[in-house]
Amino acid sequence: MFSDFDWDVILRSLPYLFFDGMRFTLMLTALATAGGIVIGTLLALMRLSSFAPFSIVAGGYVNLMRSMPLVLVIFWIYFLVPYIGQWVTGASRPIQVGALVTCLVTFTIFEAAYFCEIMRAGIQSIPRGQTEAAKAIGMTYWQTMGDVILPQAFRNMIPVLLTQTIVLFQDTSLVYVISVTDFLGAASKIAQRDGRLVEMYLFAAVVYFIVSLGASIMVRRLQRRVAIVR
């Protein structure tokens, strides 16, 4: 059963797995989270706007993204970005786009829809009286949002935002479908080269499990702290 389990293949490929693979995974997770939260917050403001075209566009965008599988979105962006690049730069042929940019665009716009829903819930959790009070003392819309509502909404939602980031970390493994070398991609390349599927996939599962579980335990602790302060 495990008699011919080859630990050596894991040891040999550790530098490749972590410096090439895991670095890509973590960078993609961090950048896409940052981008997703910024765009998601703007989408949430649009969605809650009383100006109907804004809320319809934002709502439609969120519903569209949430009804599509991530794999399909990855394929869409993978093929679409070269054409958009051609259109923007005015080149004569679809341009070549790197793996990181493709993945970054995909995950940012996909996760923005989920971050939008989280931020919307956060904004709606702030009592209406605060918006009215801010308006009454003469604050503009952006002052109200930027100085009063969003800081509190963000603070309340930090545990949920971090949980979504853990989901995003796991989701980045799907870039496998366009042959990008993230952590799982690196593991699978070694697995296929050396014929060591069992070792590499089990090791990948263990690493993902430890990182995600560790992160979610930390989020739970943070949640307790945030909850006490309020």
């Binding site: 569209l64 009804s67 794999v71 399909l72 054409y83 259109w87 796991q170 089990l202 599962a205």
Partner: protein
């Protein structure tokens, strides 16, 4: 943008020589639905047991159930898919391994199993939240009336808990449909894989993906509306109003 649009491609014959490309997308849709529905049965059954165990008085059973949820929630679905498909046949005794590898439609069974157990962890999480949201007096009243603990769950707690968690269960069901697309990595010809192969053979990238996207949106709308009707049918008058958790009392 210079791209040669050709919407007529849907009615051209696909490489299988019999069906049109539209037909091949429809086959993909049928595989997606068959996979999602079969996996959903496993998810509901296993998820209910695990969810109940998490609220059970026996600490060892609760610990086991918590471990199950943590295990399945903290490994990416794609990695789980690979573990079931590539690793499992290698680590079981070789006669079973060979049988697994030679199974017709192996990728379908693997996906159903994998997706079912993965979603079960999420269903269990929702069900636990639903049971815990009930006032503790309900459990006590059930036991005080002389019902056994399983009877209390069966006749008092679970009927309310399932109604409370119907909205999150709806989104889990939508997730299972979307997550079935991950199965294209192990060769299941579901909807996204069908669109991908249509794109590869016809070179009409955006028509293929548009077709798949529209089908996913239509499935989504049907499920959301169907569940809304179900929710209305099952609601207990005066206790749970549509879309809201249990009324305060």
């Amino acid at each position: 943008m210079k791209y040669n649009w050709n919407w007529g491609i849907f009615f051209e014959i696909s490489p299988d020589g019999v069906h049109t490309y539209l037909g091949s997308l429809m086959f993909g849709m049928v595989w997606t639905l068959a996979t999602a529905l079969s996996a959903w049965i496993i998810a509901l059954a296993v998820g209910s047991v695990i969810g109940v165990l998490r609220t059970a008085p026996n600490p060892w059973l609760a610990r086991f159930a918590n471990g199950y949820v943590e295990l399945f929630r903290n490994i990416p679905l794609l990695v789980q898919m690979f573990l079931w498909y590539f690793v499992l046949p290698e680590v079981v005794p070789s006669s079973i391994g060979t049988w697994l590898k030679q199974l017709p439609n192996a990728s379908f069974y693997t996906t159903v199993f994998c997706l079912g157990l993965y979603t079960a962890a999420r269903v269990a999480e929702q069900l636990r939240a639903g049971i815990l949201s009930l006032r503790s007096g309900q459990r006590m009243a059930g036991l005080a009336m002389g019902l056994t603990l399983p009877q209390t769950y069966r006749y008092v707690l679970l009927p309310m808990a399932y109604r409370i968690i119907l909205p999150p269960l709806t989104s889990e069901f939508l997730n299972i449909i979307k997550n079935s697309a991950v199965a294209l990595t192990i060769g299941l010809m579901e909807l996204t894989a069908a669109a991908r192969s249509m794109q590869e053979f016809s070179f009409q990238v955006f028509e293929a993906f548009t077709g798949a996207t529209i089908i996913y949106i239509v499935i989504n709308i049907i499920v959301v509306n169907g569940m809304r009707i179900l929710e209305k049918r099952l609601s207990v008058p005066g206790y749970i109003s549509l879309g809201k958790p249990a009324a305060a009392h």
